[in-house]
Amino acid sequence: MTAAQPFSVRVREIVELAPSLKRFSFEPVHGGVFPTPPAGGHVLLTLRDGARVMKNAYSLVSPPSERARYDIIVRLVAQSRGGSSYLHRRVAPGDVLEMANPVSLFSLISTAKKHLLIGGGIGITPMLSFLPELKARGARFELHQLATLEEVPVFERLLAPYAAGEEIRVHGGGRAAFDLAGLLSRQPLGTHVYVCGPHSLMDAVASTAAALGWPKTKVHKESFGGDVTGLPFRAVLRKSGIEVEVGESQSLLEAIEAAGVDAPCLCRGGACGQCATPLVEGEAEHRDDFLSAEEKAAGTLIMTCVSRARGPRIVIDL
């Protein structure tokens, strides 16, 4: 299935939360209300900087009961590919942007006895979407947010509305001081853990949980915004009969779209599997979370949204 038709949104408000963090509020251009935002859902923004078109996914941080506006929080990344930099530097209140219907690939498990949320840095955003929903359900949960020392107060402010009487902690002492194994080992049976943040954090949670005997089905990772940049390469699109140059700050999917080819995609973060494309020639540098280790080793599929060529040229069946 393909993404729904995009709609127009107007920037209603921009709030600077920290030097590199801004919250953007959007409202529907044509009045009315947005669809109920899914818990843990994200939206895709299409950003047009001259001839360059960027599509970036951002978690919705507004609660399901709020439909007059959609909020996202964007981190200005030093090595930005352009999307977050464009939002931070070029977008102003009143501007109109293109947004796709919210999508949810990171969801709360209804049968969980307890929900353990772990956020790293900007990985707080899906947790901010979960919190009002967990509160509404009266569910048992615990949240740990990892932050740099300077940003501890910022995250504490963001979490404050949900903090009363809850186990919510912001850790500013770095990963080494965060006792992940202790945290996971003291959870009651039936707990599900949800983690969003840098790949190193998500991998640490997954491997620590596995080592402690947690079932795989109780560990949930949100992955997007991972690094998709790398050496430039050429991709031959066999069915379309064209070749595209993939620049170093551009994903394969973006290069395909820039060439006017309508490629399948959904999450744009290597999670959903929608963009899996047969790899006919060349080797892939897999960066997705969808293909299994065996599938990656087989080298017959590539996820165009995050993965790249290992070498100067690949041929894909698109």
Partner: protein, 353 residues
């Protein structure tokens, strides 16, 4: 044109259910071609389609009031036809919101939903209901939110929870079913509840369908049509009541076959729900007698060809071998052998008197 409800018609005992000519033409005829085999025949559920049954998200037709009354009767006799497991409460509210908002948007003359924060008021004019309640507070409704809203909708509904890369049927309102039991199936996984279907497992239909549904996206509902046949216009053909309706099969004769035997179509819709990430599955049942089908030239030709050539395993699974040949024999002289257009549209504007 405003629909004329027929509140007194019945779906049991006296069987006074009848279709008006307009209602016949809006029937979602299930065969897009002259033969039938299982496939993953899923398409986006967008408003508009080959017949008027596809114009709304949740279709309301002239049988609305009578069907809601029949549902209330079945529930009074057997309350277990509506069950929801406790972890599905969020999905119940999601469903209530989804159905109320769509009914109010598609049928403003019949339904109104007004909101002041979490304080909602629902008006259902055909059923004479006005209800104020607090969204999220189940104690402010006369029954659970899922039961409350599905008592006011045509067709069955189930709730599928998504976990462990599978779907589990963890709730439902099932009173108009084609011989399956919620009481038996509740809690089952996708493969378990489809276990009895012949041929389709071998074709990999269910593996592909499950993969597709696990990725079903919010705001992009999908639909498919399914079908079987039922003797008499009986909505409640449940395993629980088999002694009541099973013997009907023996009552079909060459003389009464056209009036007795009904093509039973399910317009199945699937919605991803926002808060719970569950899937709301609508199974809307439409009954049309063979005599009514015969009034539409394309449909009678095609039904004849489909039933004549149907795979015997499918016929057995659908429970129709006992009278299948009688239907074929009735339709054969009405099939002039000419070609039929692709798709399910009736290809006529009016039913000739």
């Amino acid at each position: 044109m405003t629909v004329q409800f027929k509140p007194a018609e019945t779906f049991r005992d006296t069987f006074t259910y009848k279709k008006s000519p307009e209602d016949l033409l809006r029937f979602p005829f299930p065969f897009p071609e002259d033969s039938y085999m299982y496939s993953v025949n899923i398409e986006p559920h967008v408003r508009g389609g080959p017949t008027a049954a596809f114009q709304a998200q949740f279709d309301v037709d002239e049988h609305y009031i009578a069907e809601c009354k029949e549902r209330a009767r079945v529930l009074a006799e057997d309350p277990k036809r509506c069950q929801v497991l406790p972890h599905m409460l969020t999905a119940e509210w999601d469903s209530l919101e989804m159905i109320m908002e769509n009914l109010a948007a598609d049928y403003p003359e019949h339904f109104t939903l007004s909101k002041d924060g979490d304080a909602w008021t629902w008006v259902n004019r055909p059923l004479g209901i006005q209800q104020s309640f607090i969204f999220g507070k189940a104690e402010t409704l006369p029954c659970g939110p899922f039961e409350y809203i599905t008592r006011q909708a045509q067709g069955d509904f189930t709730l599928q929870d998504q976990r462990e890369d599978n779907l589990f049927v963890d709730g439902g309102m099932v009173t108009t079913q084609a011989d399956w039991s919620l009481e038996f199936d509740i809690g089952m996984s996708f493969q378990e509840w489809h276990g009895p279907v012949p041929l389709a497992h071998e074709k990999g239909v269910f593996d592909r369908a499950l993969k597709y549904l696990l990725r079903l996206q919010y705001g992009q509902p999908v639909r498919r049509l399914n079908w079987t046949m039922t003797v008499n216009p009986r909505l409640d053909t449940s395993p629980e009541n088999y002694p009541v309706w099973g013997p009907d099969k023996a009552s079909v004769t060459p003389e009464n076959v056209a009036e007795k035997v009904h093509l039973r179509v399910e317009l199945q819709t699937l919605y991803r729900l926002p808060r719970s990430n569950a899937i709301l599955f609508g199974i809307r049942c439409y009954l049309t007698s063979v005599a009514d089908i015969a009034k539409v030239p394309k449909w009678r030709r095609r039904l004849h060809r489909v039933l004549r050539d149907l795979h015997p395993d499918i016929a057995t699974y659908k429970g129709i071998p006992r009278y299948q040949q009688m239907v074929v024999d009735y339709l054969a002289p009405l099939d002039d052998g000419s070609a039929t257009s692709p798709g399910i549209a009736p290809d006529i504007e009016k039913i000739e008197a």
